[in-house]
Subunit: 353 residues, 2 copies
């Protein structure tokens, strides 16, 4: 006798799935008997004990980026091992306007042992003449390792490299197709542990982003670090299409700063998952008085998203966009035109490179 069978597949974990959360809860809590009693406070207690037992009196180095993950990792380690944690925050010349100084100050308020390193010119030298996005990423990664290596050796007798790896990063590197070289080059520290012969400690590697934020909040981390939009490791280098110069970075920083500041001032920042300006390597005609101008174009990008995997372009109010566009054209020398990215991910991506 032949039996005919049919099946169907549901993705309860996807944000848009109807009753997906309920289905998971029924399975995990009611059927499997999990208690669902995870709390940030309990996680912190447990992790701090583990770290103490694991690291003892060893010296640990950690590269801060100004972002949520590395900041929360630093706070957690600091709670466990205090002054044995040495944080390094490198100015790669590709950060937002005044970001280096602002972030350094906020870390010092937290009592972290942070060394700020101005390596702008080393990064610009490494990027000179490179236009290909992958080559730019590789050059930034290489310079980062060189600078970080020198700084780590200054500390002396470092045994551990701490990283702010979170669970989605882990998933990314064990995909069914194997770790992707393309994806890996996003991360600045690839190859660093081998070179420095360090052991790795990753206290957040079992957490999702929202859990990381809860832990950070419990640790007293400032809302302006916790609520910060994601910012790519290679920074403004992948928001300047084509080759990078200090002049282009300065121009883009001005435009980006006007945009981000307006988002904050007009209470739009929290409605946006990620935002920034992109400097396009094209010129367009304009008029200034009776003269024709022939200047650069700036693109504004702002998206809404739940997890960064898919994203919609953000419907910012027209008056807001008009105001930001006018400010940028009026205040940023060498820019006479502003466009707004109206593409969703997929098939476009959040970043242009």
């Amino acid at each position: 006798m032949l039996l005919s069978r049919s099946g169907t597949k549901k993705h309860p974990e996807v944000t848009h799935s109807v009753d997906g959360k309920k289905l998971l809860k029924n399975f995990v809590i009611d059927i499997c008997g999990c208690r669902g009693d995870w709390t940030p406070a309990a996680f912190i207690d447990e992790t701090v004990s583990q770290i103490k037992a694991q690291l003892k009196n060893d010296q640990v180095v950690l590269g801060l980026s100004g972002g949520v993950d590395s900041s929360v990792a630093a706070m957690l380690l600091h709670k466990a091992i205090g002054k044995n944690l040495h944080c390094i925050f490198i100015d790669n010349g590709l950060l937002r306007k005044n970001e280096f100084d602002k972030v350094l100050v906020s870390y010092q308020h937290l009592g972290l042992n942070v060394k700020g390193v101005d390596a702008k010119n080393k990064f610009y030298d490494g990027l000179k003449g490179l236009s290909d996005p992958e080559q730019k990423r590789k050059a930034i990664g290489k310079t980062f390792i060189d600078v970080f290596d020198v700084e780590a050796h200054r500390i002396g007798d470092v045994k551990w490299l701490a990283q702010g790896t979170i669970y989605p990063d882990v998933i990314e590197s064990v995909s069914v197709n194997g770790p992707s070289a393309t994806i890996k080059s996003h991360h600045n520290v690839g190859g660093l542990p081998e070179k420095m012969k360090l052991k790795i400690v990753e206290p957040l590697k079992s957490l999702f982003k929202d859990e990381v934020r809860s832990v950070g909040s419990q640790l007293g981390l400032d809302q302006n670090i916790l609520g910060r939009h994601p910012f790519p490791g290679p920074g403004l280098a992948i928001r300047i299409l084509g080759d990078i110069t200090a002049e282009k970075v300065a121009k883009l920083q001005e435009a980006d700063d006007i945009f981000i500041q307006a988002l904050i001032d007009k209470d739009q920042y929290k409605n946006v998952w990620q935002a920034g300006a992109i400097l396009l390597p094209v010129h367009s005609v304009g008029v200034m008085g009776d003269e024709r101008t022939y200047e650069n174009v700036i693109c504004l990008r702002a998206v809404t998203s739940v997890d960064g995997m898919t994203a919609d372009w953000c419907h910012l109010p027209y008056e807001f966009l008009a105001d930001v566009s006018n400010q940028i054209i009026r205040r940023v020398k060498g820019v006479n035109r502003v466009v707004y990215d109206i593409s969703s991910k997929p098939p476009a991506t959040i970043e242009w490179e």
Copy 2:
């Protein structure tokens, strides 16, 4: 005795001036005693008589562009001299998608004596390798004259060149700084009369655009010609930044057609002064399935304006922009990202080149 005097200056002719029209009306009608009895019908009667007296039985050639001005000029001359008017409509390969065929058909419905000339490849040859906007314009102007000259000679014994010059064109060429070479190169027919030793007839040169439209309407011209957005003489060549190829034109035509058709379908066309798509010579990253793409960016431009001298970017509905963006990315091969121009004129311009 010393008298102190003060003055003030008002621009009643500017659209935004409060009571500007009233002030002009008081002066022109009440003080100067003008009657304000201009009607398109009277203008047509008078102009047709003048043209008959001036041109007698001479042969006249006119270059049609598909736009309002040359179309109304042709209708007026046709009414006066019938088959002695020879219209030439050249396909320069830089028109909108299917524009050549559609416009030819609509002219033939009107009884005009029109010859359509496919000169696409001549224009592409002339443009080969040129990236500078002014050089592109000059190459198009030169090819236009060459093609038009050959066609005009085929007619035999042509004495007159008719043009759709309107009053703002006249003002433009007698500016205080003298005729500008830069402005002149916008117009395709510069240098043509000298080369062909033709006399010029310009029946609309005392009219403003709205008067031209009234005359055209009285002459029975179709609303889809009368209501057509302005379109630059060099066509899509100045909406493709960088050098021109037939492939790029085809790509831009597809995107432009999706945009314009959507404006018509969603009843937005009439709210817009001028609209079009621009092909940017930059590539950006996208995702399609599990693959990364690296493709072109299309910019959409739509402005509102009263006279074209100043213009605001048009606040098209978000849903409309999202729909057009999705359609373009899905349907136009080689495009993975769409942006919207949010710059006003001044200091930006309506066109990019």
